[in-house]
């Protein structure tokens, strides 16, 4: 790999042992994908590394180089644990050193956003800028909607990029790694009637079909708001490993189909039918009783538009005594919602807005009262609820799961019952 003089100095340890380790990791990562050089990173977003690993990488480091934000945390590691009804006894190893790890990152200048949607808290990219981000939803949103460039980074990569300011020039960072592979078109789908849950189910279906390939979708109306696109894109890297989805007419690099494919022929052309959307949604449900115990939304974290919509649906109503309503967002959006009175409406109705937390890995096994049935409007979240996250030892529990659009979830919270589709 070709390194610049300053990169060589980092690798030789001239900027301290942490920078050296981080640079070595970035090079190892690059070599695994045949990188020929490194590029500068404009933005990092970190899922906290375990303390022992972080101590190695941060040794002698004073400050991260690009603008760096921090990812959402396991709910057990946040100030909401008690209000959520979680037992802190035997909380498990995942949160053991969480507070200390956060302190280290903060001392390095990382912004304590604790969200999977840092783009609403100032970590925002423009076309062609390079990012190293945790959170596969943020990655696909950055690549597909903003035209920024980054891969599905994981493990030590984000911290190493934040410390060195470098990333290997591979995959979606390269021009040739951004061209479309698979073309999706619609057949008999009523595009003007698509709900948020339809888009999530569609994204879930597309991800499973496309796996690691770059997707191109032709035919979506360009009037879809950001939130609808968020639900379309964010399941693609859950059922699959998609990190770039060109939405023709919307993605900066995809004004038309030919440009999205760089004038090459698509590797595959597939159609999306109403049945595909229905099957996608069915795969995200699995329940034996219609009594909903928890309704959870905010995967990815709710935007202010969503919280406003939810507050409007809840105004003057009450969440059922048998059901709990958890809404996840970040501190920025939550504070704005408080100022606007939305939080008051939601709290009065009996809902709970939480921050800093990832609900996709909600530790249902640690709930003080036994809970086994949860509803969500998020395909991502439903996928992980059905699978119990990473397992019981970290609080995961396989849940009976209901998947449907926001309004249906709110009705379930109010009545305590999941309405089957008519």
């Amino acid at each position: 790999m070709l390194l610049t003089d300053s990169e060589k100095r980092m690798l030789n340890g001239e900027e301290g042992p942490g920078v050296q380790k981080a640079m070595q990791f970035i090079i190892d990562y690059g070599e695994a994908f045949d990188a020929r050089k490194l590029v500068d990173v404009h933005s990092a977003h970190i899922l906290q590394d375990p303390l022992e690993m972080l101590e190695g990488l941060s040794s002698g480091v004073k400050h991260v180089r690009p603008l760096t934000t921090l990812h959402s945390n396991p709910p057990l590691g946040t100030r909401w644990a008690d209000k959520l009804g979680l037992s802190m006894e035997d909380a498990g190893p995942v949160i053991e050193n969480n507070a200390r790890v956060l302190d280290v990152y903060k001392s390095l200048g990382c912004l304590m956003t604790l969200t999977c949607a840092p783009y609403v808290m100032g970590n925002i990219l423009k076309k062609n800028q390079v990012f190293s981000w945790a959170g596969s939803s943020g990655v696909i949103i950055n690549n597909s909607l903003f035209g920024a460039r980054g891969n599905r980074d994981s493990g030590l990569a984000m911290t190493a990029s934040a410390i060195t300011g470098k990333a290997p020039e591979i995959g979606r960072i390269r021009n040739d790694g951004r061209l479309g592979d698979i073309l999706f078109r619609f057949q008999k789908v009523e595009l003007d009637k698509l709900t948020q849950a339809d888009l999530g189910a569609m994204g879930y279906h597309i991800g499973a079909m496309a796996q690691t390939k770059n997707v191109v979708i032709e035919g979506l109306p360009d009037t879809l708001p950001f939130e609808m696109l968020k639900y379309l894109l964010s399941p693609m890297p859950v059922s699959g490993a998609v990190s770039l989805c060109h939405i023709v007419g919307l993605t900066p690099e995809a004004p038309d189909v030919a440009k999205a494919f760089g004038n090459r022929k698509p590797e595959m052309e597939l159609t999306i039918t109403p049945d595909d959307i229905k099957n996608g949604a069915e795969q995200l449900c699995g329940y034996e009783s219609n009594d909903v115990e928890v309704v959870m939304m905010g995967c990815p974290h709710l935007t202010i538009r969503e919280l406003r919509e939810i507050a409007a649906l809840l105004e003057g109503r009450k969440v059922s005594g048998n059901t709990r309503l958890f809404l996840a967002t970040n501190e920025g959006v939550s504070e704005l919602a408080r100022r606007m009175g939305y939080l008051e409406i939601i709290e009065k109705a009996g809902g709970l807005v939480i921050t800093d937390s990832c609900i996709a890995v909600f530790p249902f096994a640690k709930m003080k009262t036994h809970v086994s049935r949860a509803a969500t409007n998020s395909a991502r979240c439903a996928h992980y609820l059905l699978r119990g996250g990473a397992g019981e030892i970290v609080g995961g529990k396989v849940m009976q799961t209901y998947y449907g659009e926001t309004a249906r979830c709110i009705r379930a919270a109010i009545t305590g019952t999941w309405e089957d589709a008519s």
Partner: protein
């Protein structure tokens, strides 16, 4: 039989293969408590703990590598991994947690290797040797 591939994470390990046609995510596709693969995956009920996992590529959230760290802590991580072609999350899992791994082999690993085969994965050299073929399973 010898298969040659490309090194993601060096290291030498011998073990039993578990082969999947379906992509695999460390978050959601198995339980780090038991090492057992989730019911909704093609490998449902198989343990990957200490095995050499053979699969097309990774999928799922970028939390995967952190889950791999805890899986190692609980001794439920695979001993090695072989992919058709790695995507970043699965490769970074191998790199961050030092799980020997190769991809881009000269023969399709998913048809060349069968679940239950005993294999030697020399990820440093990029070599896979099938030591004993499993004759019990199809």
């Amino acid at each position: 039989m010898m298969i040659k591939g490309h090194t993601i994470q060096p290291g030498v390990v011998e073990g039993e293969a578990v082969v999947s046609n379906m992509p695999f995510s460390f978050l959601g596709d198995f339980d780090i408590t038991s090492g057992l693969v989730n019911e909704r995956h093609e490998l449902a009920g198989e343990s990957i703990a200490g095995k050499i996992l053979v699969f097309p590529s990774g999928r799922g959230s970028t939390t995967g590598a952190l889950v791999g760290y805890y899986a190692k802590m609980f001794n439920t991580a695979p001993a090695g991994m072989i992919c058709r072609e790695a995507e970043p999350v699965i490769a970074l899992n191998a790199l961050s947690n030092r799980i020997p791994m190769v991809d881009r082999t000269d023969q399709d690993p998913i048809s060349a290797i069968r679940t239950g085969d005993r294999i030697l994965l020399d990820a440093t050299q990029g070599l896979i040797t099938i030591l004993t073929q499993n004759t019990n399973k199809e």
